[in-house]
């Protein structure tokens, strides 16, 4: 295989695995309003990674993973501990805990000489280079380590989300009720936090500690704007994640931006969100504006219809509405035009008359707003 093509495939595969596995757990973070906890975990696993590194002197997954999971859970537990002491809000507690832990990790990397971690790579990821870090077992090269790690993580996350689907759903929607039925929302919470920590460490090698949160949260938030069913939201989150990876890869290529892959993918995820936020059929900005405009127009039409019975000429109706509602003539003319387009009015330059359909509409209105 052509080495350049092979590299492209590996980068896209790594990105896709990252996007899919983060979207699975990220959807539940978004629904639980815990997006920032995801951010906190993905930062605070850094000291865990360094300690795991010290213990194994290389990036052995069997040591790195438990170390990072422990760091992630410690973060969540510390945040809750501070928050429960009832003086600081949850966001302040979060912001106290994770930068401290993250910075501790940065210091450790800088000061401990034989930790062979590249700070840039840890923070921003280097998805372009994943093919240079192979998994070697018993002297055999099994291909890029990140792909293996992410593949296994994807299976674990799938197992969690599919196996505990109804438990995750009920404890996210109504934790008190879940508890009363004998499901343990607290256990599910910590299980999910463990999954987020493990997913973050599997992903950080490819996309870095800072951008993991973009993959955890943005595709899930995008999907949330588009659907009213949980399974569809999770599926769409995965799809948006994959789309961001492909789009980001193109953006980062030499022909366009010639930049870092992970950053371009995070930007792509943001662009997709922006697009959906503007254009989503129900929850989008444009839809909301149109809905409001339609309502306002409808209300104005109703008002004019109700006033038409007392006015026969254009001038009269304009005058009435000016006196009562301070409408300009132009506004009144606009609504009159809209009403004639509906076929409820027949207008000429001078007179304004209700058509039979218009009379019917007025009768209906009168029954809806009884005087």
């Amino acid at each position: 295989m052509d080495p350049e093509l092979y590299r492209t495939c590996i980068v896209l595969l790594t990105g896709s695995l990252t996007a899919a596995t983060t979207a699975l757990v990220g959807s539940f973070l978004v629904l639980r309003r815990m997006a920032l906890i995801g951010d906190a975990i993905s930062h605070a696993i850094l000291p865990g990674i360094v300690i795991g590194f010290l213990l194994s002197t290389q990036r052995h997954p069997l040591i790195l993973l438990p170390a990072a999971a422990a760091a992630g859970l410690l973060t969540v537990w510390l945040i809750e501990l501070i928050y429960r002491s009832r003086r600081l809000s949850e966001d302040a507690s979060t912001a106290v805990v994770f930068p401290a832990l993250f910075a501790l990790g940065v210091l450790m990397i800088a000061r401990i000489r034989y930790v062979d971690l590249d700070l840039d790579c840890v923070i921003f990821g280097r998805i372009e280079d994943v093919d240079r870090r192979p998994l070697v077992l018993f002297g055999t090269d099994l291909g890029p380590r990140a792909v293996w790690l992410l593949g296994i993580m994807l299976l674990l996350d799938l197992l969690l989300v599919v196996g505990l689907w109804k438990e995750l759903k009920i404890s996210t929607f109504d934790p008190a009720y879940a508890e009363s039925l004998g499901f343990k929302p607290l256990r599910i919470h910590y299980l999910l936090m463990t999954a987020v920590s493990l997913t973050a460490i599997a992903a950080f090698e490819a996309v870095g500690a800072i951008l993991v949160v973009a993959f955890l949260v943005v595709p899930a938030a995008t999907a949330f704007l588009l659907t009213n069913r949980l399974w569809l939201m999770v599926a769409l989150a995965v799809l948006f994640g994959l789309a961001s990876v492909v789009l980001g890869y193109v953006l980062a290529s030499e022909a366009v931006l010639n930049s870092q892959g992970a950053a371009a993918m995070a930007v792509a995820a943001g662009l997709l969100f922006l697009l959906v936020w503007l254009l989503a059929p129900h929850h989008g900005l444009l839809a909301a504006i149109l809905r409001r405009r339609r309502l306002r127009l409808r209300f104005a039409e109703d008002l004019v219809l109700l006033h038409l019975e007392q006015a026969q000429t254009r001038q009269e109706i304009c005058q009435t509405l000016q006196e009562r509602l301070r409408w300009s003539d132009r506004e009144t003319e606009r609504i009159l035009a809209a009403l004639s387009r509906r076929g409820w009015l027949s207008c000429d330059d001078y007179s304004v008359r209700l058509t039979p359909e218009g009379v019917q509409a007025v009768a209906e209105l009168r029954s809806r707003y009884p005087a």
Partner: protein, 280 residues
């Protein structure tokens, strides 16, 4: 339900064998003993002793912050008490979950959650299914029947964020019905619903009572207590009084429950007056 309290009672319970209470089927549905609950250092319930009878419609009444919700939560083990205990048919709640349906306040959940009405009602069957098992056709048809009973079968596929307050309350009620329990604990089932819904809900609660179920509801409207309920529990941090409405729902007890809150007392006086005149 497949498991009756008798069947459940056959399991030997050491803590109960040591106490004087019997664990046979004659045990009361809910027994609260010396219950004290505190958040931080502030007590919310103080030394509550309460035994509720079977097959009655029971209101829990008291001013804001009186501990009504806390009492329900303590019964279903959502809060661990500082002292005291609760028994359901003579046993701890965790052995009797299948006999109890708990309905939290409607406002306690996020109605923007991406799911359908039927799906929320299906959650009522999760307890019986236990871990990992998914609801199947039997559960789905049960959930549909429950939606019919609360009169919103036509909304089964509706997204829950599109519901009115009354419809949300009916969904929660249907979910509790799907548990097919013997005890129903409801936190403000009438909060923020229109008159039609209120009538529908009370009718349903009466049906449950008439089929031998015990229904306990936190209630705010003192005026409707004599009309709706058989029993009343007056609560204000401590238990003020509990018993049949005719014995316990008296001006003196209400005065002790609400202190000087004049408006509520006036409402209550009207309700009492109507009761004495012999009409609901």
């Amino acid at each position: 339900m497949s498991q009756t309290p008798d069947a459940a009672a056959r399991v030997v319970d050491l803590t109960l064998a040591q106490s004087s209470a019997s664990s046979d089927s004659s045990a009361p549905p809910i027994e609260v003993h010396d219950l004290t609950v505190a958040y931080q250092t502030r007590p919310v319930l103080w030394d509550v002793d309460l035994t509720l009878p079977e097959g009655k419609l029971i209101a829990i009444v008291g001013p804001n912050g009186a501990g009504k919700t806390t009492l329900l939560k303590a019964v279903v083990d959502l809060i661990s008490p500082a002292a005291g205990w609760v028994r359901i048919y003579g046993k701890p709640y965790r052995q009797q979950r299948h006999l109890v349906a708990y309905m939290p306040q409607r406002t306690s959940v996020d109605w923007d959650f991406p799911t359908s009405v039927l799906d929320v009602v299906l959650m009522g069957t999760y307890g019986r299914l236990g871990w990992f098992r998914r609801p199947g056709r039997a559960e789905r048809s049960l959930a549909r029947r429950c939606l019919e009973r609360v009169g919103i079968a036509n909304l089964a596929r509706r997204q829950i964020s599109e519901l009115s307050g009354g419809q949300q309350q009916r969904v929660f009620l249907a979910r509790a019905l799907a548990q097919e329990a013997r005890i129903y604990l409801m936190d403000e089932p009438f909060a923020g619903v229109d008159a039609t819904t209120e009538r529908a809900i009370i009718q349903l609660l009466r049906q449950l009572r008439d089929s031998g179920r015990t229904v306990v509801a936190v209630h705010h409207d003192l005026q409707s207590i004599p009309e709706y309920f058989d029993w009343v529990v007056l609560l204000n941090l401590r238990l003020i009084a509990a018993g049949p409405v005719a014995d316990v729902f008296t001006p003196a007890n209400l005065q002790r429950t609400y202190g000087g809150q004049l408006k509520i007392l006036t409402q209550a006086a009207e309700a009492l007056l109507r009761r004495e005149e012999g009409r609901p």
